[in-house]
């Protein structure tokens, strides 16, 4: 697993209080990992802070799974 993927996973585990094994690429934040709309906003903000990037709102809307988050950040870095 790439460094980015493991850091993304760690943030999700921490913020959503889920088990690491549940954080698979296809897992949806809201449908599979129990996030509500505010949790999702918080996750995006944590990704921005951790990776020192800006994720505009219109692009944040397209990040709804673990895999989408990892690919977005890999491209943005």
């Amino acid at each position: 697993m790439s460094d980015i993927a493991s850091r993304v996973k760690a943030i999700i585990v921490d913020k959503l209080g889920v088990d690491e094994n549940e954080v698979v690429p296809e897992a949806s934040f809201t449908n599979d990992l129990g996030a509500d709309s505010l949790d999702t906003v918080e996750l995006i903000m944590e990704f921005e802070k951790e990776f020192d990037i800006q994720i505009p709102d219109d692009q944040a809307e397209n990040i709804s799974t673990v895999g989408q988050a990892i690919s977005y950040i890999e491209e943005a870095k």
Binding site: L16, G17, V41, E42, M45, E48
Partner: protein, 416 residues
Amino acid sequence: MQLKRVVVTGLGALTPIGNTIEAYWEGLKTGKSGAAPITYFDTEKFKTKFACELKGYNPQDFFDRKEARKLDRFAQYALVSSDEAIADSGLDLNAVDKFRVGVVWGAGIGGLETFQNEVIGYAEGDGTPRFNPFFIPKMIADIAPGNISIKHGFMGPNYTTVSACASSANAMIDALNYIRLGHCDVVVTGGSEAAVTIAGMGGFNAMHALSTRNESPETASRPFDATRDGFVLGEGAGALILEEYEHAVARGAKIYAEVCGGGLSSDAYHMTAPHPDGIGVVRVMQNCLENAGLKPEDVDAINTHGTSTPLGDVAELKAISQVFGAHAEKININSTKSMTGHLLGAAGAVEAIASILAMQHNLVPPTINHSTIDENIDPTLNLTLNKAQAREVNVAMSNTFGFGGHNACVLFKKLN
């Protein structure tokens, strides 16, 4: 219309001298002080370095990590104490009409620590506003009853009363009236506060409101003592289940006491100073007696607001003498803030609970830390100094007054 009768059927407490009702009562009757050096932050540069923090409270005992992160401590305390009260009431949550169960809570400030930390985070950044999406919903004072209703599905009236240190007394009186008027069968009421923070201590210190007796925190809260020098900030929560009398009887509930009246008034005088003649305080006790249909001679015990400030304590006792006349010296007057410190918006609830427990046990908790007589206080008054006093308590009054000049008073009566 005939008003319904209202009784107390459940209690919960999370206080600096005990984290359950049982532990709280043990602390009250033995005269335990909850004051100690502050552990939450570095107090090196603070004038006051102590407070009445909760002891041994661990959020992980009550909430999973994700839940706890979304709850300011004042909301956590509300959930913990109301859970204890609901369990104590024996209410079958599947049997009650949840549209007729309200939650009316009191908080003087709300999520002060959340507000403080979010603003510090912003100030330390580059000016980009990166506020947490939970900042506002964690901080707002009404989120405590909101969370209680979400947890249990209570769909009756739901809000927080904000009147500084009178907040939870206002909440109890609103709860009483909803049931009296037939709007609710049950109301979860009480109050919580968690202001032992950098902003809370710094702000109250700036007002010269807090005791600075850093060499002896446990004796700093000394209501009615000539050497009192301000209040000691406390934190925690108190919860009460108020229930319509017939509703409680029909389910065979244990009944602690009847809530027989509430009094409300305002000083209309100064933002923080009490009125020198105590006009509002006299009026609130008179209002309360009238509302309860009781005479001054009926009252056996008064848990005063008694914060241990130079002006407030004397003004309140003068008002008691004025309202109760010759009967004043037969009343057991006390201030449980000598033990718990001042829980601000939670004070009205935790002190009302102390009054109810005093009735239940026929034992009036003491005003601890008294050593020097204040010449300005009428020596014929029984201030229940230093040791609990056993006596029959059939009617108990609880006073609370808040910055802004808000006065609230509640009367409880033993059910015979």
